[in-house]
């Protein structure tokens, strides 16, 4: 089926070559980083994780969100998701690919990456995270490919696919729970030491991922003959609404606990992020942008009339996605490191090469997504009007 990605319109090829160009720029920046070291980034002795690990964390959520389509379709027999569940699965493949690449570009000694498998260490959460992410990538490639291949032939997928689909549901929850545990189990990092960390991660994932999916579905409809349909998009819109409410609620729980308890160690990261601490406030404008966009998206989502209008729904999804990207892809990681273990404020800001590498990895993700969506859409276009067998 991959051959379908090799034929396309001029627009398709322009987009693909544009992505290649962006990847090329990122690759050059990465070679620089590879030779000079991570000193090329804004990372420091005090803020030792930054944009890369933030992107990784955010994208694990996007990957896990495929389950929001799989559950209604396979567990509740919600037929309307039949034709777009593949878009969720392929989005997960692209997101996990980016996760792995972000870990890779963050490593001081990337050539030693296999050490994680050669010296398996079950007491390290990172060992489990690499295991569950690898497994999730395989599951989604196999499930997505097998179901799409069956659709193409007009038959039902092989009987071994169903158990894998059921397995992918708890697996999706596990990848984001384990990722939250990377942070939530560290002594002395007050901002991360929270029992609701994994719950908040899942809530933001189930809002952000499906919001991105709505945007992608609308793009697919605009540029191809495959229409994901109005009803599935509306149904996903409701999922996004509930998940975003849960996410904002969980964030407010964190703020209450920190602020009302008045424990300095717990308050300081929030102060740094939203008000500035000891005259340092590089993240303040960004965090308020995130908050305002969250409120805007909630207003657009909660009122049914606005949500039912696809234009305002798209706007809501874009606002929500940017809001969560700032909150989780940036603020969450930096807030854990500022102030540092000596209660000193040492700030972080990404450098140009670091930003180019980050954009380059996103471009690789979009390229993987474009190729997989091209295949899926081509199959859907060929089999238009045919009922699915699974």
């Amino acid at each position: 089926m991959l051959e379908k990605a090799l034929v396309g319109t001029k627009k398709y090829w322009t987009w693909v070559f544009f992505l290649f160009a962006v990847i090329g720029v990122g690759a050059v920046a990465y070679m620089q980083q590879f030779n000079y070291g991570l000193g090329l980034t804004g990372l420091s002795r005090d803020v030792s994780w930054g944009l890369y690990i933030g992107q990784f964390t955010f994208l694990v959520g996007v990957a896990a969100s495929a389950v929001m389509l799989v559950i209604p379709y396979y567990l509740h027999d919600f037929k309307k998701f039949g034709k777009i569940v593949i878009l969720g699965e392929f989005l997960a493949v692209s997101a996990v690919t980016m996760c792995i690449l972000f870990i890779f570009v963050d490593m001081g000694q990337p050539m030693r990456i296999m050490n994680v498998m050669l010296h398996p260490t079950p007491n390290s959460v990172m060992f489990w995270d690499s295991a569950v992410l690898g497994g999730y990538l395989m599951l989604n490639i196999i499930i997505g490919w097998a179901t799409l291949h069956a659709d193409k032939k007009g038959v039902s997928p092989a009987p071994w696919v169903k158990p894998l689909i059921y397995l992918s549901i708890p697996w999706a929850v596990s990848i984001h729970t384990v990722t939250a545990f990377l942070y939530a189990g560290l002594p002395g990092r007050h901002f991360w030491l929270s029992a609701v960390m994994a719950a908040r991660f899942l809530a933001s994932a189930f809002a952000g991922g499906p919001a991105l999916l709505i945007i992608l579905a609308l793009i697919v409809r605009k540029f191809t003959k495959f229409d994901p349909g109005r009803e599935p998009i509306q149904a996903i819109g409701k999922i996004v609404t509930y998940a975003m409410i849960a996410n904002v609620f969980l964030l407010l729980l964190e703020v209450f606990t920190a602020v009302y308890s008045n424990i300095p160690g717990h308050m300081h990261p929030f102060k740094y992020l939203y008000l500035g601490l000891e005259g340092h406030g590089k993240l303040v404008p960004l965090m308020w942008t995130s908050s305002i966009l969250a409120i805007v998206s909630l207003i657009l989502l909660i009122f049914p009339a606005l949500r039912k209008n696809e234009n305002t729904l798209a706007l809501a999804c874009i606002a929500l996605f940017i809001s969560l990207w700032i909150d989780k892809g940036f603020g969450l990681v930096i807030g854990g490191f500022v102030p540092n273990p000596f209660e000193r404020v040492m700030e972080y800001w990404p450098t140009l090469p670091e930003t180019l590498i980050t954009i380059g990895v996103w471009a690789i993700g979009f390229l993987v997504l474009t190729v997989l969506y091209k295949v899926a859409v081509s199959v859907r276009e060929e089999t238009e009007g045919v009922e699915l067998e699974h």
Partner: protein
């Protein structure tokens, strides 16, 4: 037997996976734990090395400098000249930064401005060891929290896990920044994490850590499980505190405070 391209690829794929698995399984010697460290004849033994910092004996800037320099010189610790890329094994900081949350605005002025010697605590329950995904950082049988710099992948999870900011990362090639390289001790490469090792290379030769030797008795070093050791005697005779002991990492570095007005030898 005929075989189409698809079946051939399937078989080829399976064989590759099988060969990979076989290769790993056939090398148990490499997978097994290597002996932790060289058991030399002169080796000083302990169950848990510990240090007491007698802050009363640090009086002048020189007292700190000679201790810090002794360590950084023999261990080829680079001077990168900026706080972002900084690498340090032992350093000093004021009370409110060394013991955040313990300070009070009414405490003696002298104490407020006093510098405290800081280094890796060689915790009995180290979070850095718990999180390391490759066992590159590990707890030795003598209690030293050690690292294998050839196994470290540079993920910096240990830096996030350490509540004491004890760990430094080689953000760039450190070698050009080592002023007078000591040929007896290795320099480090780019992209790995490093910290104080309680001078395990000196213990192997029967010597005390370099900082202890240079401190004129201000740093006391010994086996905390040995009731007759000097550290135990000092701990029994003096009130000491540890950094962030509430976190349960059980630091092995203790501090005797300078209490103005007291006779200093309570």
């Amino acid at each position: 037997m005929s075989m189409d391209r698809r079946d051939f690829l399937k078989l080829a794929g399976l064989s590759t996976v099988g060969m990979g698995a076989g290769w790993v399984l056939s090398r148990p010697g490499d997978i097994l734990e290597a002996s932790q460290f060289l058991q030399t004849k002169e080796l000083l033994n302990a169950k848990q090395w510990a240090m007491v910092v007698d802050i009363r004996k640090f009086k002048t800037v020189e007292d700190y400098k000679k201790v810090i320099d002794a360590c950084h010189k023999i261990h080829n610790v680079p001077d990168l000249g900026n706080p972002k890329d900084e690498v340090k094994w032992i350093w000093s900081d004021s009370f409110d930064h060394a013991f955040p949350g313990q300070e009070s605005e009414y405490m003696p002025e002298e104490m407020k401005h006093k510098q405290f010697v800081l280094l890796c605590n060689h915790c009995e329950n180290p979070p850095c060891v718990r999180v390391c995904p490759t066992k590159a950082t590990f707890k030795r049988k003598d209690g030293i929290t050690m690292q294998d710099l050839h196994r470290c992948i540079g993920c910096r999870y240990c830096m996030a896990a350490c509540p004491f900011g004890a760990r430094s990362f080689n953000y760039r090639d450190p070698r050009p920044f080592v002023k007078e390289p000591n040929a007896e001790y290795p320099t480090r490469m780019i992209g790995v994490v490093e910290k104080c090792t309680f001078c395990e290379e000196r213990l192997a030769k029967g010597l005390m850590p370099a900082c202890v030797e240079a401190s004129n008795g201000a740093l006391i070093f010994g086996d905390i499980t040995d009731t007759n050791s000097e550290v135990r005697k000092v701990l029994a005779d003096n009130y000491t505190i540890r950094r962030k002991s509430e976190l349960g990492t059980r630091p092995s570095v203790y501090y005797i405070l300078d209490i103005p007005g007291g006779d200093g030898n309570a």
